[in-house]
């Protein structure tokens, strides 16, 4: 991650997501529990290949507020309620408060009280949205 991007990261809302690892960063893709949106479950499709805000890739405010069944059992020592599949990692993106707002030029966070969605900032091609999610890969750090 470059110096300019690191400065950007400071303003990114803090969010957590359980994903399969690929080396030191989350795996990119369109399946469950990877960095990317599942189609059609996680996207608001306008037409076959275009998406608009309203839905997005799930994220959480904190690990404490993640449902226990999404916290991998590898985290049992720290989170004794963990009931998620082993082998996955919990990743954090950003450091600022979990609130509605831009994450990158193409992504916004729609934040609920505990759960949120990383949505397209505006209507755009599905590929562009997936690419925007994938572009955050280096910003995610394992927890």
């Amino acid at each position: 991650m470059g110096e300019q991007e690191e400065r950007k990261d400071v303003r990114i809302p803090c969010m957590f997501r359980t994903m399969w690892p690929d080396g030191a960063r989350p795996r990119v893709g369109t399946d469950r529990d990877v960095l990317g949106a599942r189609v059609p479950a996680d996207v608001n499709l306008v037409e076959a290949a275009r998406v608009r805000p309203g839905k997005g890739m799930s994220v959480f405010r904190s690990i404490q507020q993640m449902p226990p069944f999404l916290i991998p059992k590898d985290y049992l020592a720290r989170f004794p309620e963990a009931g998620g599949k082993r082998g996955k990692t919990i990743w954090r993106l950003g450091t600022e408060g979990f609130a509605n707002g831009p994450v990158t030029d193409d992504l916004v966070l729609r934040a609920g009280s505990a759960h949120g969605a990383l949505e397209p900032a505006r209507e755009m091609p599905l590929d562009a949205y997936q690419a925007a999610l994938a572009a955050t890969r280096d910003g995610w750090v394992p927890v």
Partner: protein
């Protein structure tokens, strides 16, 4: 505090997930799909329910020996105070801090089962009572509780498997025999195979009765023994042994003379052969204020037929007050008989007409009610529920509603 449907659904899903993991199926698509469903119920719950069910996940880890205890220990005194004050949430919380070696796994599971059950999370409770029963197979109370929970949650296969396990034991407590028989009676199939279920249930009940009867009279539990005799009577009726059924109901009344279910069962059984004896049983049941509709339904027309109008009015009124299981057909009969008895007693006509109207509202296709309304005498007194149907419905209701004996 009431529990939301989402929280009740989520506890079932959580138990399913842990069972799936235990069975090695977590790597399958089933696990992912289940988690997708769980997210829906999780988000619909209240914050309080989510917090409580986080604890359930911690507790369920004991099933796979993965439980992580809190660092800060709880004392047995704290635990006893919480249990005594029935603060079951605190009991569960303190169990996650346990250190006392006396709290073995089976005991912890048993207490968790009781606590989650008291909090209204019955599926979660079953997971723990089952664990306790399997961890300590010689403990009769655990075996009994696991079976009762399975019966009450309609887990047919599990209940029948546990009943079979109790059947194979020689040292099970009487409660277990009765609960196992109850499971067989409740879940007997509708086909020819049912006979075998009734035979097995009858054998278990006979063992229960023999065991309990062998105790000193001062140590016997009359209610428990009576219930065993009644269920044995029902089994014998289902097997076509009318004399045996009569003996069982009479035995129930020897140990518990005011048992309304036994009086009702024997009364219905005697209706074909000794109506006078049946009437005496129904009278005793009505005097006890039974919530069962059948004694009222048979006694009222008997009085009406003998022109004992005041007695008929009393019985019909008592039925409306006490009988909880009456349907529209029975209500229509009670209103019709009340109307007839009141007309015979020369009650004001608007009252009589109102009673006939109420009867007609509950049985709009019953032409006889209107014919009786037009008559001033020679009324046609007919009970619209047949004897066969009355017996069947009594047995069915008993199978589903009779209380299972409480655990020791």
């Amino acid at each position: 505090m009431s529990i939301s449907p989402s929280a009740l659904k989520h506890q079932i899903e959580a138990v399913q997930l842990f069972r799936l993991v235990q069975a090695g199926g977590d790597e399958s698509e089933d696990g992912d799909e289940l988690r997708d469903m769980m997210l829906v119920s999780w988000e619909e719950m209240t914050d309080h329910e989510r917090e409580l069910l986080r604890g359930l996940y911690r507790d369920l880890h004991m099933l796979s020996k993965d439980e992580v205890l809190d660092e800060e220990p709880a004392t047995m005194d704290q635990f006893r105070v919480a249990w005594k004050s029935k603060d079951y949430t605190l009991v569960l919380h303190l169990l996650r801090k346990r250190r006392d070696p006396g709290l073995t796994d089976d005991k912890v599971a048993y207490i968790r089962g009781r606590a989650w059950g008291e909090l209204g999370y019955r599926e979660a409770a079953l997971a723990f009572t089952t664990y306790a029963a399997d961890a300590s197979p010689h403990n009769g109370t655990y075996a009994y509780l696991a079976l009762v929970d399975a019966i009450e949650l309609d887990h047919v296969d599990e209940a029948l498997a546990r009943a079979a396990a109790i059947e194979a034991r020689e040292d099970a407590p009487i409660r277990s025999f009765i609960a196992a028989a109850h499971a067989l009676l409740r879940f007997a199939p509708d086909d020819d195979a049912a006979r075998r279920f009734y035979e097995r249930a009858a054998a278990l009940l006979t063992r229960a009765i023999e065991t309990e009867s062998a105790r000193l009279p001062t140590e016997q539990l009359p209610g428990l023994l009576a219930e065993a005799y009644i269920e044995l009577g029902i089994c014998r009726e289902m097997l076509g042994d009318v004399n045996g059924a009569h003996d069982s109901y009479s035995d129930a009344l020897k140990v518990d003379p005011k048992n309304d279910a036994a009086l009702t069962a024997r009364g219905l059984l005697l209706m074909n052969t000794d109506e006078r004896a049946a009437e005496r049983d129904f009278e005793r049941a009505v005097q006890s204020g039974t919530p069962l509709v059948w004694p009222y339904l048979y006694l009222a027309p008997m009085y009406l037929g003998r022109e004992e109008y005041r007695a008929c009015i009393q019985v019909c009124s008592a039925a409306f007050k006490h009988a909880l299981d009456q349907g529209d057909e029975q209500r229509a009969n009670f209103y019709e008989w009340l109307a007839i008895a009141n007309r015979a007693c020369r009650a004001p006509e608007p009252i009589v007409e109102d009673l006939f109207a109420r009867a007609g509202e509950r049985a709009p296709l019953n032409l006889r009610i209107d014919e009786n309304r037009r008559r001033q005498r020679d009324w046609e007194v007919v009970r619209d529920t047949s004897l066969e149907e009355s017996r069947l419905r009594f047995r069915e209701a008993h199978k589903w509603q009779s209380p299972l004996p409480a655990a020791a």
